[in-house]
Symmetry: C2
Subunit: 337 residues, 2 copies
């Protein structure tokens, strides 16, 4: 079907979207004034995060499926970062009347697929569809800590090990390839997608290690967050909340940067993408953001899926690299260019 939202109307569009969420586990799903979810330990974790066409994504680069996937993945990561298990999602979707209903179906399919892959059993249990000049997705995710204390940002103590699970710098590397290719030439974008599907997926449809949030909590993690704004900036948040120094190991970060260099090779790309230097790759690892992996501090053994990046020290509240203070230049969506 090729009709748009204005032609189909809100209710007809919803009737085509809602069946795509049918596998969500809920006490009460869409269709009434509110949904109802289990909160088995008498508490519920909640986070909300929005994506807006332009500042947060470009229709020329992302398919509807990828938009839905990414919105879900980034929200699930906020629950994982509390050491908790996601339990449900609500979606406030705002779209121009000219949006094809097929695009909304694609967004819904991407959401359902991301849930299936990253947090099976979790799904969209409620939402709102409104008209807007600009496509945007505001998601709310719920979670359960299942009786455990949630892992905050404030528990890191000197001597704890800093470790990370997930990709680092690759989402930013993917974005760099997309910016170099531009939005104007669909053939160039299609060729880039064929040649660099893996690294583009890190940006367009990331797969944060959602289950590692609970693993980290069970391993005694004392502080955790998902790296959305860049490693240095997010590490600074733990440092400031905990009143400690996060001393990162340059050699470990350079190993992460090698992974970025390996997938960012411009050879064979139709678009004119300059090669990354090792220094630039390290910059993507330190400041790139959007990988949504889990940065955590552990007093003892580190779970297998985490890679050690440094050690917590006393003597201030900030981030260092091999003991040297470093300026956390992160991403602020309003002041960044």
């Amino acid at each position: 079907m090729t009709d748009d939202l204005a032609t189909a109307g809100e209710r007809a569009a919803l009737a085509r979207i809602l069946p795509r969420f049918a596998r969500a586990e809920a006490l009460l799903g869409p269709g009434d004034d509110a949904a109802m979810l289990a909160a088995p330990d008498g508490r519920v974790l909640l986070s909300t995060d929005a994506m807006v066409d332009g500042p947060d994504f470009r229709r020329a680069w992302s398919t509807p499926f990828e938009l839905g996937w990414k919105a879900v993945a980034t929200n699930l990561a906020d629950i994982a970062a509390m050491g908790a298990r996601p339990t449900g999602l609500l979606v406030a979707l705002a779209a121009p009347g000219t949006t094809p209903v097929a695009d909304l179906e694609g967004i819904a399919d991407g959401m359902a697929a991301a849930c299936e892959r990253l947090a099976p059993g979790v799904g969209v249990v409620g939402g709102d569809l409104t008209r807007s000049p600009v496509l945007s997705l505001a998601l709310t995710v719920t979670g359960s800590a299942d009786g455990r204390d949630p892992v905050l940002r404030s528990g890191a103590r000197p001597g704890h090990t800093i470790a990370y699970s997930g990709r680092l710098g690759l989402a930013a590397a993917g974005l760099r390839l997309l910016f170099a290719t531009g939005e104007e030439d669909p053939a160039a974008i299609a060729a880039l997608r064929r040649a660099r599907a893996g690294v583009l997926a890190e940006q367009l449809a990331p797969r944060p290690p959602i289950g590692d949030g609970v693993l980290a909590a069970e391993a005694g993690a004392t502080a955790m967050l998902d790296v959305s704004d860049g490693l240095l900036l997010d590490a600074t948040r733990i440092a400031e909340a905990s009143g400690v120094v996060l001393d990162l190991d340059r050699a470990a970060l350079e190993r992460e940067a090698e992974g970025v260099l390996a997938v960012s090779d411009p050879d064979g790309l139709p678009a004119r993408v300059p090669a990354l230097t090792a220094h630039e790759a390290l910059g993507l690892v330190l400041g790139g953001g959007e990988d949504h992996g889990l940065l955590a501090c552990f007093p003892g053994a580190v779970p297998e899926s985490f890679r050690v990046l440094g050690v917590v020290r006393a003597g201030g509240a900030g981030v260092r690299l091999d003991g040297e203070p470093v300026d956390p230049s992160g991403w602020d969506s309003f002041t960044a260019s």
Copy 2:
């Protein structure tokens, strides 16, 4: 302070907004990856609802305070409509970089004031601030049924009494005055606001009877919703979900329409607003929407704050007026003009 969001940056703006929500009751408030709320009976109710500049509000008519108030009030009503008690709010606010931070503070103040007035102890416990070409507020509200069954739309049975708590038709009457005045003449809008503050408040900063949701549940309500899209359309939703006829009493609705006529008198208004006929006033009562009062069906005694509007009958699934079938022409935000 007169700076805008782009100048101040996201973090500085948040630092000015968050203290305005300090009175919210939460196990864990803003500042980490997720908030945490109590869910005392092991279940949580959730609803999300967005408002977008243009389709849902006009900056020429609404102050920032009123925008925040209305977003909260309409979301709280969705929890009340389940016969439940609101417990918290999350806000995804998307705004142009040119938005004065003072406007965001006004929105936050309106949210806090609406909570204080309509659901004391409830407040904003988390959120997200993003850049967008269009101002929009996507709120998620949580609630607790405190061990009771939530009141769905599907429990109405023949013989039950149909009753309503809240205003009816007045939000639409206020909107009609605003449309007649237009967006172009600030002096005319200001004069209208002085002359008809009461009815404009019904549209711009409504006060749905949030506490009546729990009262209705305790009185045994078998079906309930908040009237957002017009009485006929929302009554049809109960009728279809329950498989019954909602037979509305024309005399009762005409009494509601008298209240609309009383406040819509154009005498003394500087703008050229035509007088309402009694028939038009009844139309606002039947189809106006946005009042967000509670329409419920009761098997026995009706709580004092509800007014009886009709009786549930067998013989189909639809709405009648004094026994005559009536076409539910409601509001669909995509197909309506």
